[in-house]
C-alpha cells in the first residue's frame, strides 16, 4: 500500500471524509473515489452504481465498491440528481484502480445547491485528516 506522501491528490478536486472526490465541471459535479480509497481497497471487481434520475441528499449512500477484500459503501458529497453513471465500470471496474480521477469516475450529479461543495476539504485539509 502507498505511503501518504505517495498518494496522488490533485489540486482541482474536493475531498470527503469518506474518501470520495468531487469536481465541478460546468454546472455538473463529477464524483469518484480517490487514490487513497482505491489503494486501500485493492483490486476492485465490481462497482454498484445508482440509476440515472435517482436523487440523493448529501452524505447518502449511493452505491458500493467491491474489491477482492471487502465491500465498501460510497457516500455522495453533494445533494442532487444523478445525470450520468460511468457505464464503462460494469465491464472494467479496474478503471477505478487504474485511473480514479479520470476514466474511473463514478457518477455525474446535477447539484441542488452548489455551495455544498464549499463544505468539502481541499487537498491540504484532506492530507491533514489522513495524517491524523
Amino acid at each position: 500500500m502507498k505511503e501518504i506522501n505517495d498518494l496522488s491528490l490533485p489540486d482541482d478536486v474536493k475531498y470527503t471524509k469518506s474518501h470520495e472526490w468531487a469536481k465541478l465541471s460546468g454546472d455538473i459535479v463529477i464524483i469518484g473515489l480517490n487514490d487513497y480509497a482505491q489503494d486501500q481497497l485493492g483490486e476492485i471487481v465490481f462497482v454498484e452504481l445508482p440509476e440515472t434520475g435517482d436523487t440523493f441528499s448529501k452524505d447518502d449512500e449511493f452505491g458500493s465498491v467491491e474489491s477482492v477484500k471487502a465491500v465498501s459503501e460510497i457516500y455522495i458529497p453533494i445533494s442532487g440528481e444523478i445525470v450520468e453513471i460511468n457505464e464503462g465500470l460494469e465491464d472494467a471496474p479496474e478503471l477505478v484502480n487504474e485511473s480514479c480521477y479520470d476514466n474511473g469516475w463514478l457518477v455525474k450529479v446535477k447539484p441542488e445547491n452548489i455551495s455544498e461543495l464549499d463544505d468539502l476539504m481541499d487537498k491540504g485539509e484532506y492530507l491533514n485528516m489522513l495524517k491524523g
Binding site: F46, E48, E66, S67, V68, K69, A70, V71, E73
Partner: protein, 444 residues
C-alpha cells in the same frame, strides 16, 4: 476434512500451550458463584444396547412402517432413493452441513457443491445457483427480501395464496420485523393464482408464485412475468416438487428473476419433514444480491483447475450489518445428496421419473373419481391434485393409517377453511397400480 476427537495427549499438549494445569483452569475467569456445582439432573447413562432398545421403543411410536403407501405430498414427497446415494454420501468427508471453514483445503467438497450448483442451474434454466439454503421456505423468504431491498419505494411483496402455507408463514417471519408485509394474491375457481387480482395490486416490490402450486396445479408463469414486467418488479417463482421439471418448462424459460425451491425430492429422505434442501437460483443480474454461499471454479498458481468460495465479501463476517443476509451456512450434505441424485438419474432418468409420477397421479385421480370423489378443479397438474371427499372419508382415512399403513391424502381444512372435506392427493413413482386399485377399493 475429518472430525476426530481429542486424545488425552492432545488435550495435555494444548493445555501446556495455554499455560494451564487442567481443563477447569480454563474457566477460572468465571466467578465461582456463577458456576453450577451440583450435578445435572439427568438420568443415569445407558449401555449401548439399552440405549438402542430405548431409541427403538421411541421410534416405534412413529407411524412409519416400512411398507407404507404414501399418497401425500404437499411439500414432502415419497421418492425412491437409489442405493448408490446413501453409499456415496456416507463418506465421512461429506458429513457436515457446512461449507468447510478452511474452504480451499477441501477441494472435494467444494467441487461437489460446484457440481450441485451447476446441475441446479440446468434444471431450473437459471444463470446462477447458491450452495443451498435450509429449505424452500427460507430460500423463498430470502428471495422476497432481495426484491424488497431492490425496490426501496415499496414495502409489500405479492405472494400467491397457493404458495405453500408454511412458506408464507416463513416469509412473514423473515420480513415483518423489517416493516415489510405480504399481500396475498387470491386464487380462482380453477385452482390457479388470480392474475387479474394481481394486476390491481400497487406498491409491491415483487411477485412470488409457486408452480406447480400448493393444489398441485400448473400455473401459467408467462402471465405473471408479463405483470411483473409491466410493474417493473422482480418475478420470483417457487416450487416444492423439483422432479416436476423433468417434464415441465423450467422457470428460467418464463423469465423468472429468482427461483426458490425445495430439493427434498432429489434423493433426500422425508425424515418426518426435514431437514430439506433450499434451492435458490437467479439471473446473472441478481448475482451480487443472492445471499449465502457460492462456489466458483478458477485456476491455481500452476494453472490447474481449483474451486473457491466466491463473492464472500458480501457476507456478514466482512460486511457486518450491511450484509444482505445473516445466512452463512448451507445444507451441505443434502446439497451433495441432490448432486449425487441428479448425476445418478441424469437427463433421461429425471424425465422418465417425472412421467411416471404424472401418469400415476392421473390414474389415481381417475380411480378416486370412480370411488365417489369429486375433482376440485379441471386444471393440468403434475403429481398432486385436490379432491372433494365423499361423506365418511375422514374415518376411513384414519383407519387406513392404523390398519393398512396407508396415508390417503392431506386434509386442507386447516390451511383453507373454505375448502371443507377437500383432500390433497399425490402419487409418485413409488406407488404401483396395485396400490392405487387397493386404495380405490378401500375408500369406496
Amino acid at each position: 476434512m475429518r472430525y476426530l476427537p481429542h486424545t488425552k495427549d492432545d488435550i495435555k499438549s494444548m493445555l501446556k500451550v495455554a499455560g494451564q494445569e487442567n481443563l477447569d483452569d480454563l474457566f477460572n475467569c468465571i466467578p465461582d458463584d456463577l458456576k453450577i456445582t451440583e450435578s445435572l439432573d439427568l438420568p443415569q447413562s445407558l449401555s449401548e444396547w439399552e440405549l438402542n432398545s430405548h431409541m427403538e421403543e421411541l421410534a416405534s411410536l412413529n407411524i412409519a412402517c416400512k411398507n407404507y403407501k404414501c399418497f401425500m405430498g404437499a411439500g414432502s414427497y415419497d421418492h425412491y432413493i437409489p442405493a448408490i446415494i446413501p453409499y456415496l454420501i456416507s463418506r465421512s468427508e461429506f458429513m457436515t452441513a457446512y461449507t468447510p471453514y478452511q474452504p480451499e483445503v477441501s477441494q472435494g467438497t467444494l467441487q461437489g457443491i460446484y457440481e450441485f450448483q451447476t446441475m441446479v442451474t440446468e434444471l431450473l434454466g437459471m444463470d446462477i445457483a447458491t450452495a443451498s439454503h435450509y429449505d424452500c421456505g427460507t430460500a423463498l423468504a430470502e428471495a422476497c427480501l432481495i426484491a424488497l431491498r431492490q425496490n426501496k419505494k415499496a414495502n409489500k411483496i405479492a405472494v400467491s395464496a397457493l404458495t405453500h402455507p408454511s412458506h408464507r408463514q416463513i416469509i412473514h417471519t423473515y420480513i415483518s420485523p423489517a416493516g415489510y408485509e405480504i399481500v396475498e394474491i387470491p386464487y380462482t375457481k380453477e385452482g390457479l393464482t388470480d392474475v387479474k387480482a394481481l394486476e390491481a395490486m400497487d406498491d409491491i416490490a415483487g411477485i412470488a408464485v409457486q408452480s406447480p402450486n400448493f393444489f398441485g396445479n400448473i400455473e401459467d408463469l408467462s402471465a405473471f412475468k408479463a405483470v411483473a414486467d409491466a410493474k417493473k418488479v422482480l418475478f420470483i417463482t417457487s416450487f416444492t416438487e423439483a422432479l416436476a421439471f423433468g417434464l415441465l418448462k423450467n422457470p428460467g424459460s418464463f423469465g423468472a428473476d429468482l427461483v426458490a425451491g425445495e430439493g427434498q425430492s432429489l434423493g433426500i429422505a422425508k425424515s418426518f419433514g426435514g431437514p430439506g434442501l433450499g434451492l435458490l437460483a437467479g439471473t446473472k443480474k441478481q448475482m451480487r444480491n443472492l445471499p449465502g454461499r457460492l462456489i466458483g471454479k478458477t485456476k491455481d498458481a500452476n494453472g490447474d483447475d481449483g474451486f473457491v468460495l466466491t463473492l464472500a465479501t458480501r457476507e456478514q463476517h466482512i460486511r457486518r450489518e450491511k450484509a444482505s443476509s445473516n445466512i452463512c451456512s448451507n445444507n451441505g450434505l443434502n446439497a451433495m445428496t441432490a448432486a449425487v441424485y441428479l448425476a445418478t438419474v441424469g437427463k433421461i432418468g429425471i424425465r422418465e421419473i417425472a412421467q411416471q409420477n404424472h401418469d400415476k397421479a392421473v390414474y389415481l385421480k381417475a380411480s378416486l373419481e370412480k370411488a365417489g370423489f369429486e375433482s376440485a378443479f379441471d386444471t393440468p397438474f403434475f403429481n398432486e391434485f385436490l379432491m372433494k371427499a365423499p361423506a365418511g372419508f375422514e374415518q376411513k382415512r384414519a383407519a387406513l393409517i392404523n390398519d393398512k399403513c396407508t396415508f390417503a391424502g392431506i386434509c386442507l381444512d386447516k390451511f383453507y377453511p373454505e375448502l371443507k372435506h377437500h383432500y390433497l392427493f399425490c402419487a409418485t413413482e413409488t406407488i404401483s397400480k396395485k396400490d392405487i386399485d387397493q386404495l380405490a377399493k378401500e375408500v369406496q
